[in-house]
Symmetry: C2
Subunit: 356 residues, 2 copies
């Protein structure tokens, strides 16, 4: 098990957010990785192999890999929310729950990649392209089960409430992914911004909110504090998704690990695209025509520019700022002391500024 | 919620097993269905629709269906094990856990049908053929989550141990399905009977064992009693799988809801087939040749006969009897009173004699 770590609230005032967030993420990985590896290694051999590949710990042939297991934003939110409300002891107690949240996140990644036919994840071929669709589905199913088992085996008094919350969140994640795939089949003109915002909240906001809420539960937070933490995570998550969509259109694929234009090629109704389509501008009409035609790589640059000229980029950036402002409001409600709230603030700033 | 029901241990001595089992299953459906429907109806609309179709409660267009939601063997084992050790109060207390077990079973059916490309389930088109693969995967994911949520929200002191046990069982089910699909890709000569027996135990025995064990937990059973109940369910499950494989080759598709020969067409290494292949008889060689060639419907009857001549049918029936004998031994260890054990015995006899 992990040794106790310095409480994220007890030091480094004035540290720039980006550096503080990087330190929180590194400390989170140090605390949660052993729990995560033990959980994954408890799987039967065939499933363990797929999971270890997915997490970047192994090559497909089972040899060790110094891979990229992801940024650990969600477990960092669990631990940092626990620390903000309950100090270092709550942070330490929440480590298994943080691992459970990360397992759920990775179960959904495995399944989403199957459904979306995505071939690249964290700069490597996705698990289903290596092991086949059935094995990727089964590894995902097993990771969901292990997440619930970690909480069922956790004697902490908050574990049961956390388990119920995480299970409800999985249902919301599934509904979000379902809406995402359903929206893909709709004509662009049929999709409203409200639908896409609701989808993004379910698909991305829900688990970030749940992570913060579970941290609050492990700190013994009141119902109000836990709900405010959930809302903080949700709003930050929506901001994160808005920025993620912007990066998907205008960002650096070397940084995101996704090929540029993948969302456009799949005719995804991302937030900037739907905002652009519903803008009533001449560029919106041009974009609608491009989106109704089969994908042609030669049209990629023109499509990106149409989204921009129709105001999709500006709208997304203003929305992201608005969501962040709501997130800050909820954070202040949950944790009035700016010093205690610093870690969560740094994480929220980190995820929404990861272009910088 | 369900009203209290007559304890399955307190009546009808001397009732023939088949009739007693049918009554237990009917009482189980009456007790568990409301819990199951409430759980499924808690899903967001798009996922609820898929789940309600899968359970046979609705047509694909959302109109009501008087469908066949399955035999409810697993929830019946939960309730009957609870009643055998703890009487009517334990049976009543275990209703949410019985629903959780049935939700897990149905989550695996939804996913297995996707992986196996099975097009018929309970005499209807499978969910993925109606709603598409992504929606069937997501509905399965959500049903797993709801199963865990039911236990996390259950205040009964046994709920946490049941949740851990159910989560571990899901991992075993996934490993069993993984082994099943992996064995499909192997040349028939490479597959051993031990591998197929281990696969069948994980895929079928594990959840029947888990159902009985969870019933024991809700009755406050000792660790020894719970483990004996688990072993009883596992051995019954293996007997059930052996008989199911026999029905798949020689049974009535009108009864099973699966087309005859589907296992052979998919080149499944079912227990009778692998026993036949490893029999060292001339018919084994003939069967191996047939199994290595692409499937030809004209060869179906000859293939079935080769399995029979190589002793696959006899072996499976003797094995099934042996597993049932072990199951009876474990049942007597868990519940020494034959009167109290009668319901579980009737269920075990029912599942292994469902050709009659």
């Amino acid at each position: 098990m992990a040794t106790p770590h310095t409480d994220s609230t007890d030091g480094t005032p004035g540290l720039p957010d980006a550096q503080e967030a990087a330190e929180i993420l590194a400390r989170t990985r140090a605390a949660v990785d052993p729990e995560l590896r033990t959980a994954v290694d408890s799987l039967p051999a065939a499933l363990r192999r797929i999971a270890r590949y997915h997490f970047g710990w192994e090559q497909a042939d089972g040899s060790p890999a110094a891979g990229n297991p992801g940024k650990a934003v969600r477990p960092a939110l669990v631990l940092t929310a626990a620390a903000a409300l309950g100090g270092a002891p709550a942070r330490l107690a929440a480590v298994p729950a943080a691992a459970a949240v990360e397992l759920v996140h990775n179960f959904t990644l495995l399944h989403d990649d199957v459904m979306d036919r995505d071939t690249t994840r964290r700069h490597r071929p996705t698990a289903w392209t290596v092991f086949g669709v059935p094995d990727a589905i089964l590894a995902g199913d097993a990771l969901q089960a292990v997440a619930h088992r970690l909480l069922a085996e956790d004697p902490h008094p908050a574990a049961t409430a956390a388990a119920a919350r995480l299970a409800s969140c999985v249902v919301e994640l599934c509904a979000g992914q379902q809406a995402d795939t359903a929206l893909e089949g709709c004509a662009p003109a049929e999709v409203t911004l409200d639908e896409v915002l609701a989808m993004a909240e379910a698909k991305t906001g829900a688990l970030l909110g749940c992570a913060c809420a579970i941290g609050g539960l492990y700190a013994g937070g009141s119902a109000d504090e836990v709900e405010a933490l959930d809302a903080f995570g949700r709003e930050s998550g929506l901001a994160f998704q808005l920025i993620d969509d912007v990066i998907g259109l205008w960002g650096d694929p070397g940084r995101t690990g996704k090929p540029a234009g993948a969302d456009l090629a799949a005719r995804k109704k991302t937030l900037p695209v739907v905002a652009a389509l519903s803008s009533g501008t001449p560029a919106a009409g041009e974009l609608a025509e491009l989106y109704e035609a089969p994908y042609d790589k030669g049209d990629l640059e023109r499509t990106v520019q149409a989204v921009e000229r129709a105001g999709g980029r500006d709208w997304a950036q203003v929305q992201a700022a608005d969501r962040m402002s709501r997130a800050m409001h909820e954070l202040a409600r949950a944790i009035p002391s700016p010093e205690s709230a610093g870690g969560l603030l740094a994480l929220a700033e980190y995820v929404t500024r990861r272009t910088s």
